[in-house]
Amino acid sequence: MYKNETKVAQIGNRSETQTGTVNPPVYFSTAYRHEGIGQSTGFDYIRTGNPTRKLVEAAIADLEGGDQGFACSSGMAAITTILAIFESGDEWIVSRDLYGGTYRILEQGFKKWGLSSTYVQTHDVSIIEQAITEKTKAIFIETPTNPLMEETDIQAVAELAKKYNILLIVDNTFYTPLLQRPIELGADIVIHSATKYLGGHNDVLAGLIVGKGKEVCEQLGFHHNSIGAVLSPFDSWLLIRGMKTLALRMKQHESNARELASFLKNHANVVDVLYPGRGGMLSFRIKKEEWVNSFLQNLNLITFAESLGGVESFITYPATQTHADIPEEVRFSIGVCNRLLRFSVGIEDVEDLIKDIDQALTRLSSEA
């Protein structure tokens, strides 16, 4: 059994025997020739199965310790594919502090089809337990949460889920299997917006699902094919290419994030720093709301953009970007205020990042 660092570097190697190609080919073919009726090569139609996509699906299943992987055209497509295994009347319990896109598909999408969601703080298992009803079919958690960076005890939630015979779904986008493997802690399904750390270069939109257990995998496979929100062969290949450096990148993201967290904590114009101590994501609140725009415009190196997990550092303003679809009163009540900024720390030299943040923050008080 190889370590994850070895596994990611080796994705796709030895997958092809005819030429010995080290880098797997991109199979664009939509259809596969059959020798005769009932004589399939295992591949029939691109939506159902594609050799390039299959490599990334097998790789993520292996990295996460699950049974089967499914690659989707975006992280949201992965979530919708999972939602399709449920039905009208079912209920979900969901992390209260949640990516806005997930909140939107639950509230403005699946609610219409009779699937309702209850939002709770998931760091306390007793709160989750209180929310469970007869109709609860799944618990969906993000850990750490986005953007408040609160960690949930996956193992404790998994035990609770087993007790009530409920599926546990964990969004592992922020930590990746390099830092956290929810299935090993008892989760049934893991999802990723692979656009983020797994892809890592801000050049591909992708989602991944990993299932554990025969029944769950069969259901996911059925809907993956039926709904058809699958990842294209080229994007599968780009994702594989990105994943090969995942281990290296995560180390750099994390060491930069640690230094930036302690720098920000000591800065006079910053009031809170939310960093769980691992990974490359942190959030912070600056002193005054009216400073936000100037701060972002003062940045020379760090990019003000939505998304995260890329080699380049990004700062995001959740209030108007990632969490714009969550009503203001809900947003405020959970702490996503108008002074909160989310920082996806890149792999640049950490001194350069600190210098950029420092000058942008310091100019605020001199301007005021």
Partner: protein, 395 residues
């Protein structure tokens, strides 16, 4: 720009607002891989912020397909089924769909096994029978779902008549236009509300990309589909959007050639003693031949035919050398499919037989090979089969 709207369809395929890049003059749309875009102010975001919501390369394909279908807005998806699934997301629990009975197996599966679990009801009808369509209407009917010509029996539905029925009860008409493409049929001009495509097929045409599209011509519907596309996120990858755009440039020449061949092949099959029946709306004895001529500019390049037996089908598949035996259609290569085990495998056998999709039915998507070669190939295969069968009878 206004001038361009006067161009004929063939010219529009090549000359549209994306014919060259405004910054450097490149005549092929660049592939923009960026998943996110730099913003300059908290208060005002640029047109592009995140790749799922909008991407310039995908947008180029979306505007082109909208323009070709004469709609206002186009949306690109990661597969035809992703487009169809997203369109169905317009519905709510308790709604009802009236749908073509010999619909593509994947759509059948979506309606019967997915929508039904979210409380969306359906009735399958023969859409060529308008009385049956009217009888299927319920107070909660919200969508009429049409495939014309249908798959695999090539039945032709009167889009205008269905749209009128739908409008009279305040429902929407969805038309899957995969088989004909806007080169031959423009459902929005006939009254449809939502046009769907598996762009994997004729639009791309090269068996090298899986893609789907939706086109609408109503601002309110556009807003709803745009919201669902972004929320669900089953969007088309940028390289694939570029491949579809590349395929579309030759859509008309490919269609013209394949249709001419299809007509020749249909006639050949119809006159062959070993062929029981040919389904092709370009044949004068097709029940909706006149309707097809009236609502579209050609019968398309897909036909189905029935041989004597399942055994004959098996032999035919093994004996023919030109068409690839595979699922899918609408490619430069001719593709022979066996609906019972391929496109319609998701439909239970009794449902299949009820619809006339027998065990001896084959579907042919005519490609760009010379039609004489295909006819020669088929002729030799059919001859061998009948000689073999006669030999067996003699023994």
């Amino acid at each position: 720009m206004t001038k361009e709207h006067n161009f004929s369809f063939e010219t529009k395929l090549l000359h549209n607002e994306h014919k060259y890049d405004p910054t450097n003059g490149a005549v092929s749309v660049p592939i923009q891989h960026a998943s996110t875009f730099h913003q300059h102010s908290v208060d005002e975001f640029g047109k592009y912020d995140y790749g799922r919501s909008a991407n310039p390369t995908r947008e180029a394909f979306e505007t082109v397909i909208a323009n070709l279908e004469e709609g206002t807005n186009g949306y690109a998806f990661s597969s035809g089924m992703a487009a169809i699934s997203t369109a169905f997301l317009l519905l709510s629990q308790g709604d009802h769909v009236v749908i073509t009975e010999d619909v593509y197996g994947g759509t059948y599966r979506m309606v019967t096994e997915v929508l039904s679990r979210f409380g969306i009801e359906h009735t399958f009808v023969d859409m060529t029978d308008l009385t049956a369509v009217k009888q299927a209407i319920r107070p909660n009917t919200k969508v009429f779902y049409v495939e014309t010509p249908s798959n695999p029996l090539l039945k032709v539905t009167d889009i205008r008549a269905i749209s009128e029925i739908a409008k009279s009860v305040g429902a929407l008409t969805f038309v899957d236009n995969t088989f004909l493409t806007p080169a031959l049929q423009k459902p929005l001009l006939l009254g449809a509300d939502v046009v769907l495509h598996s762009a994997t097929k004729f639009l791309s045409g090269h068996s090298d990309v899986v893609a789907g599209a939706i086109v609408v011509n109503d601002p309110d519907l556009a807003k709803q589909i745009g919201f669902l596309q972004n929320s669900f996120g089953a969007v088309l990858g940028v390289q694939d959007a570029w491949l579809v755009l590349r395929g579309i440039k030759t859509l008309s020449v490919r269609m013209d050639f394949s249709i001419k061949s299809a007509i020749q092949i249909a006639h050949f099959l119809q006159n062959h003693p070993s062929v029981k029946k040919v389904y092709y709306p370009g044949l004068t004895n097709h029940p909706q031949y006149e309707l097809q001529k009236e609502q579209s500019e050609g019968a398309g390049a897909v036909l189905s035919f029935e041989l004597e037996s399942e055994e004959a089908v098996k032999q035919f598949v093994e004996l023919t050398e030109i068409p690839v035996f595979a699922v899918s259609l609408g490619a430069v290569e001719s593709i022979l499919s066996y609906p019972a085990k391929m496109s319609h495998a998701a439909m239970p056998i009794e449902q299949r037989l009820k619809r006339g999709i027998s065990q001896s039915l084959l579907r042919l998507s005519v490609g760009l090979e010379h039609p004489d070669d295909i006819i020669k190939d088929f002729s030799a295969a059919l001859e061998t089969i009948s000689a073999k069968n006669q030999g067996e009878i003699v023994r």
